[in-house]
């Protein structure tokens, strides 16, 4: 058996991506409209945010620019799930129609092959928007720019995106067991909106749920604390990269278990 390592998968992904972009460009109207739509979505989200926080200058000790930083952080952290794992949204249709089986006939990892099929360009606009917001808030707060802080930012952005990807993997994979898994996905996707707010506003049971059960607090709150309050970082923030990796791994295993357990009934 010929070995397929990381290098192989990277090169395959790149090739599929190039082909995919080429064919997307060929639908010009579709491309333009979805780009405009993406800008509008981000803009309206931003405006809502501005209005809300201009009226409440601080929330639980978080001032406007800290909130803005958190907002930008969550936008960037949500980009990978949007760009690379968007096919999760199609999973249940493919499973129900039986078309999913085609992903099992190639000598590559099923999860990889399935996800490689869709690259959502819309995520790139969100990424630009998020980076802009982070930079703006960063300057206003006056966080010093050192290589170490930049490194921390990258590591913890990566961590944060792992949590979101894992959540969507879990939600999507429920379709292998239940029929109406669309609801699960929509609920999970809605939950991500809470990630934009400091989790310290949640009390008691909600805090426990959003930290350990549906860990959206890890999508922006805990990781961004490392940058925002470097003198007072909770332990949960420091161990979040490890948590993120474990959580992602578990979601991947759950997804693959679904593939194995599924009957593929009907022909």
């Amino acid at each position: 058996m010929r070995k397929r390592g990381l290098k192989f998968y990277m090169s395959i992904y790149r090739k599929i991506l190039i082909q995919d972009l080429k064919s997307k460009m060929s639908y010009r109207a579709d491309f333009i409209i979805s780009t405009i739509g993406m800008i509008m979505t981000n803009l309206s989200g931003f405006v809502t945010f501005m209005i809300l926080f201009h009226n409440f200058p601080t929330i639980n000790g978080w001032d406007y620019y800290h909130m803005l930083f958190l907002y930008g952080f969550s936008l960037v952290a949500l980009t990978p799930v949007q760009c690379f794992f968007d096919n999760n949204w199609n999973l249940r249709f493919m499973v129900q129609s039986g078309d999913f089986i085609k992903y099992c006939f190639r000598p590559v990892n099923v999860f990889f092959y399935f996800m490689s099929e869709v690259f959502d360009v819309k995520g790139l606009g969100q990424l630009a928007f998020g980076i802009g917001t982070i930079v703006y808030a960063w300057i206003k707060i006056g966080i010093p720019v050192t290589p170490l802080v930049i490194l921390k930012l990258i590591v913890f952005l990566f961590t944060a995106s792992l949590f979101m990807i894992a959540l969507m993997n879990f939600a999507a994979a429920t379709c292998f067991w239940i029929k109406n898994s669309g609801y699960v996905m929509v609920i999970m996707f809605r939950f991500k909106d809470f990630a934009k707010y400091p989790s310290s506003i949640f009390e008691g049971i909600f805090k426990v749920i959003f930290t350990f059960l549906i860990p959206i607090a890890f999508i922006a709150y805990y990781p961004s604390l490392v940058i925002l309050s470097p003198d007072n970082v909770p332990v949960l923030s420091w161990i979040s990269p490890l948590f993120g990796l474990i959580f992602f791994y578990l979601s991947y295993k759950f997804w693959m278990l679904g593939v194995r357990k599924y009957d593929f009934t009907g022909s």
């Binding site: 058996m1 010929r2 397929r4 192989f8 090169s11 395959i12 090739k15 599929i16 082909q19 995919d20 064919s23 997307k24 060929s26 039986g98 078309d99 089986i101 085609k102 099992c104 006939f105 190639r106 000598p107 590559v108 990892n109 099929e117 009957d263 593929f264 009934t265 009907g266 022909s267």
Partner: protein
């Protein structure tokens, strides 16, 4: 290694919830742990030799697809042994996939928006096909079928026939030891059907590829298969040469009578039990007969007889 597929007493059961009727029943089902076991494949033993084209037949729901899914490593059998190219498929799914090609009737496995040639190039990388072998294969394709018109066409713009053709070519691209074709000619016109049959024969001859074909079209069987395996209700009911099958029903004749009102009447007669002449005479008493034809039984009728009555 002469055998492409070896199956010994392979069984596959599915667990299905016992559904109750009505609203009350539905509520009951919500909490019910009342499962029944449905056997899709029962104790199937068979061997497929290298280079063979076998017809894998059976009525709808007989267990054909399930067997194919077991052979391709997608499903794990409940019990029994299976070896594909000398390996256990469900334990080595990716490895098994390198040596097989699959075409599932109307379901294209190609990248929908890409021109065929780009799909081919991606597949070449995915299967790690060496440049030389890839070029040889494309050259072979060119010699067997006119691929120019479809090569630069995106799959989504193709007709069903072109898409099927593309899918078959894609399945053979990495020169697999076995190719599974699940109803490859379904929904195609006559000329496309014969084109595809010729292509399959040509590839099988050139590359000595084992082909396992499921179909409901007896034209496919007549054109391609020397041997057929028939399965019904999960059990293998026939496994032998196609000629043997005809001998089995050799005493059967199709009698066609053209009646006075120019309509043809058709009937199947077993010469062992009934005399053809008797039937004609009997008919003649009722109506005038203008013409008589006696034909050998066709494969289609043989298969129908087996589905209906089974072989004893």
């Amino acid at each position: 290694m002469e055998e492409a597929v070896v199956m010994k007493n392979v069984c596959k059961d599915f667990k299905v919830l016992n559904r109750h009727e009505g609203l009350k029943g539905s509520i009951k089902d919500l909490f019910s742990r009342d499962y029944k076991t449905v056997s899709a494949v029962k104790d199937v033993t068979m061997t497929v030799n290298r280079g063979e084209i076998i017809g894998y037949l059976g009525p709808n729901g007989a267990g054909k697809s399930t067997t194919i899914k077991i052979m391709t490593g997608v499903l794990e059998p409940t019990s029994g042994e299976i070896l594909v190219n000398g390996k256990v498929p469900y334990k080595n799914r990716t490895e098994n996939c390198e040596n097989i090609g699959v075409v599932f009737g109307q379901r294209s496995q190609l990248w929908w928006s890409l021109p065929l040639i780009e799909s081919f190039k991606l597949l070449k990388d995915l299967y790690m096909v060496p440049e030389k072998e890839y070029d040889d294969m494309i050259a072979l394709y060119r010699s067997l079928v006119d691929i120019e018109p479809i090569l630069h066409k995106p799959v989504r713009q193709m007709s069903l026939g072109q898409r099927t053709l593309s899918d078959i070519l894609a399945a053979f691209l990495h020169n697999p030891a076995i190719v599974f074709l699940d109803e490859p000619t379904i929904g195609l016109d006559v000329s496309m059907k014969s084109k595809i049959r010729e292509l399959i024969l040509g590839l099988n001859k050139e590359k000595n590829t084992t082909v396992i074909l499921t179909t409901h079209d007896m034209g496919d069987v007549d054109a391609l298969c020397k041997r057929i395996v028939i399965i019904d209700k999960g059990m293998k009911i026939y496994d032998n040469d196609i000629d043997h099958l005809k001998n089995y029903f050799g005493s059967y004749r199709t009698l066609k009578l053209k009646l006075a009102d120019d309509t043809w009447e058709e009937m199947l007669i077993d010469e062992k039990t009934t005399d053809v002449m008797d039937v004609i005479m009997e008919k003649q008493k009722e109506k005038k007969i203008k013409d008589v034809k006696i034909l050998e039984i066709s494969t289609e009728e043989v298969i129908r007889k087996i589905y209906e009555g089974g072989t004893k």
